[in-house]
């Protein structure tokens, strides 16, 4: 491999493959094309091995400062991003709703601009309202990674899910993915539909009509209301959370009990899976609602793998989007 020199602008032939130009921020899965997706998956593999080393750290983002703006609380995703940044030797500031002056109603724009003035090089944003990372990306001059916005998108979760499946099977071309549950209010569902379709899988969706978003006929998915007919055909059953709070505001289902009966992943349904099929869930699980307690811990469940891939995938995303900042 030819040596490189910072002082020469001539990139020597045979240098490591450069990463293609990409949009500055990762706001939605649609911001990634197949090529970039491949880069992220390759990097994830590298970072997985970094994490197994005695000193699981690389200096790739040394000197960079990342602001984790978690305006909606989430221990799991927040810790995952924080750990990922630290493993890349970046400096991390974490903001949560309670700690920030947002609770004193300082404007969102002022908050992020203040951070930028302090020298933050990039943002990871999570918010309970759809579209906030997009607004922040319009206000700041640095990359923004969407850590989950309202019911809109959660691109890094979809990447974790994709990486978990690719690690298991090598490819998703032709695989049949079945997404079950509250698609209307799920940002994970939206990101995953894009991600799985991009990876070559075909996606079906199963939920009562009250939990399907308007316009789903225009999505690249097939819609079904009969879960028992769909499960034997599926290679991946992806379960979405069904929350009690959802029913309190709006009677989308009469009760969680009824939901569990019609759409919960029971032991019986688990038995009707074909031998190679797997079950996934973005977490945290409501055992007894969308997934029976006994099923959650079976070997067919990839949930723990999903969790363990979280840091490596986020390291790949942070590296890809933040390493090039001068």
């Amino acid at each position: 491999m030819s040596d490189y020199s910072a002082s020469s602008d001539h990139v020597p032939a045979g240098a490591m493959q450069e990463i293609s130009n990409h949009p500055r921020s990762l706001l939605a899965m649609g911001d990634l094309d197949v090529h970039r997706l491949g880069e992220i998956l390759t990097l994830t593999q590298e970072f997985r091995s970094v994490l197994r080393r005695p000193i699981p750290k690389v200096p790739a983002l040394r000197g960079k400062t990342i602001a984790n703006c978690f305006f909606e609380d989430s221990t799991r995703t927040r810790c995952s991003f924080e750990l990922a940044a630290k493993r890349l030797s970046a400096d991390v500031i974490t903001l949560t709703e309670k700690g920030s002056s947002l609770s004193k109603s300082e404007s969102l724009r002022d908050t992020v601009r203040t951070l930028e003035c302090m020298g933050v090089d990039g943002f990871v944003v999570r918010h309970h309202a759809s579209g906030v990372p997009a607004r922040i990306a319009a206000w700041v001059d640095h990359p923004v990674i969407n850590g989950g916005d309202g019911a809109h998108e959660h691109p890094t979760q979809a990447l974790v899910d994709l990486a978990t499946l690719i690690e298991k099977w090598g490819s998703l071309a032709g695989a049949r993915v079945l997404i079950v549950g509250d698609v209307a209010h799920s940002r994970v569902a939206r990101s995953n539909v894009t991600a799985f379709t991009l990876a070559g899988a075909s996606v079906s969706v199963c939920a009562p009509p009250t939990l399907l978003p308007p316009g789903i006929e225009g999505w690249p998915v097939t819609v079904s209301e009969d879960l028992d007919a769909e499960i034997p055909e599926a290679d991946v059953v992806y379960l979405l959370r069904m929350q009690q709070e959802r029913i309190v505001d709006d009677p989308v289902v009469p009760s969680l009990c009824e939901y569990a009966r019609g759409f919960g992943f029971t032991e019986e349904r688990a038995r009707s899976l074909h031998s190679e099929a797997v079950v996934m869930h973005p977490g945290p699980m409501n055992r007894g609602v969308e997934i029976a307690a006994s099923v959650a811990d079976l070997p067919i469940s990839l949930v723990e793998k999903q969790v363990s891939n979280g840091v490596a995938v986020r390291m790949a995303v942070l590296y890809l989007f933040f390493a090039g900042i001068p």
């Binding site: 579209g131 906030v132 309202g150 308007p214 789903i216 999505w219």
Partner: protein, 459 residues
């Protein structure tokens, strides 16, 4: 009495559009003459070459925000925005703080407008006390104070029994109930039109049926009680269809549409820029086509801007943002564009923006310009191309959805009671006395006119 001549324009007269010079004496149009006819004692001359002279526009739906929300707009700045848009009369919505449900507040608004000395402001009254929807407001006293339009705008009149009583009572006193049609039980937490776009963006939707349910209810109640009803800011194809059928049956229903529902669709929400957040929301292309057709064929009687100024803090991020867009300064150029494209006749345009709202709001009748009419004029430069730049707006706020858009056609002058209250090259601001003109034309040397005073005001 001062004599003013507006030369070289094309006048919307009762015989159609004619090339004529218009002579104003005092507060009234004295005559329409051949272009170039010398006029004696013409103290002020205005050049209207390339312009269309329209009767002054009337907007039946404006939020002036004062009292209570003066940071976004106040009566003076709202009137400045109105005259910059060619409006000589506006109806001020009553969702102020305190609301316009008592004579005291109504008088306050009227007097503030008179002090501003720009356009006329006709405050609307609340239907229910404090707009709480529980009991009727003091309708008679408001009517006696000159209020014609009654609305709880911002909110619908939710209780059908109250709506029925309001229709009966207000009608009996000669007023008009205007309803903001929205079934709020279906729109709880809604952020934008419910449809394909909202489904993908993950924003809770406003289903079109929520508007149509109340449109249907109000039509049926008006029919049943034999009274008039006015439906505000219609936005869906279903609503237009209901009104069309109702009119065919003879129900006394009138309807309005905003320029933004004539121009924009819910696709605008894709960037999550809250400048596009409004109630009722921007709808689909099919809905937009339906309301355009409705305006063109008269199903929708008038254009009303629903001018809704907001401070930048209230338009920062979509889900927390307040609903509403500016409308006064861009309304006529946008509706003019529909005319230019052949979707709207000039007769219908003048009717929708001037004559008919004047009629509905209980104002002096106005229509094609003729001698003897009050000199409320909008002089509209038909060819002037300009780019919408909110920093040049005359109102206080900047939340326009048309920033950067190129428009053809712009108001050059506005006259109220024969006084020029707006001149396109001068900013109507605090440091300028209203109605001041400094304008030179080849005929006479214009002098600074006397500072106009509202009648009855001491020096």
């Amino acid at each position: 009495m001062s004599v003013t001549v507006v030369r070289n324009g094309q006048v919307c007269s009762s015989t159609g559009v004619v090339n004529a010079d218009l002579v104003i004496e005092g507060e009234y149009i004295s005559s329409l003459v051949e272009p170039g006819t010398p006029v004696e004692a013409a103290a002020h001359v205005f050049d209207a070459s390339g312009c269309l002279l329209l009767p002054g526009l009337v907007d039946m739906h404006v939020h002036l925000r004062e009292p209570g929300d003066e940071e976004a707009e106040d009566i003076r700045s709202g009137c400045a925005a109105a005259v910059a848009g060619g409006f000589t009369d506006i109806v001020a919505m009553p969702n102020t703080h305190p609301p316009q449900d008592s004579v005291g507040v109504v008088e306050f608004v009227r007097e503030a407008a008179a002090r501003a000395g720009l356009c006329r402001v006709h405050p609307a009254g609340c239907v229910t006390r404090a707009r709480a929807g529980k009991e009727l407001a003091g309708i008679r006293e408001l009517a006696e104070a000159g209020v014609v339009i009654f609305t709880d705008d911002g909110d619908p009149v939710r209780d059908s029994r109250i709506m029925r009583r309001a229709l009966e009572y207000v009608g009996f006193l000669g007023g008009l109930v205007a309803d903001h049609c929205e079934d709020t039980q279906l729109t709880d937490g809604a952020q934008m039109n419910e449809g394909e776009v909202s489904g993908w963006l993950g924003l809770a939707g406003w289903p079109s049926v929520a508007e149509e349910i109340f449109v249907a209810r109000d039509i049926l109640l008006a029919e049943y009680t034999g009274s008039r009803v006015h439906l505000q800011h219609l936005s869906t194809a279903g609503a237009v269809r209901l009104v069309r059928d109702a009119k065919a049956r003879g129900v006394m229903v009138s309807a309005e549409v905003t320029p933004h529902h004539l121009m924009l669709t819910d696709e605008k929400a894709t960037e999550y820029d809250p400048v596009f957040k409004v109630n009722p929301p921007l709808r689909t292309a099919a809905d937009r086509a339906a309301v355009r057709l409705g305006l063109a064929d008269g199903t929708i009687d008038i254009v009303a801007t629903d001018h809704a100024p907001h401070t930048p803090e209230n338009k920062e991020e979509w889900t927390e943002a307040r609903c509403g867009m500016l409308g006064l300064e861009t309304a006529l150029p946008l509706v003019w564009d529909l005319h230019r494209k052949g979707d709207l006749t000039l007769e219908r345009l003048v009717d929708a923006m001037s004559s008919r709202p004047a009629h509905l709001a209980g104002l002096e009748p106005r229509g094609p310009l003729a001698a003897g009419q009050r000199a409320d004029l909008c002089v509209f430069d038909m060819e002037h191309e300009w780019v919408v730049d909110p920093s040049g707006f005359h109102g206080k706020s900047r939340n326009t959805p048309y920033e950067g858009m190129t428009c053809t056609g712009r108001v050059r002058y506005t006259f109220v009671d024969g006084r020029p209250v707006f001149h396109a090259d001068e900013k109507v601001g605090e440091n300028k006395r209203p109605g001041r003109t400094a304008f030179l034309v080849e005929e006479g040397v214009a002098s600074e006119g006397p500072t106009p005073r509202m009648p009855g005001r001491k020096k």
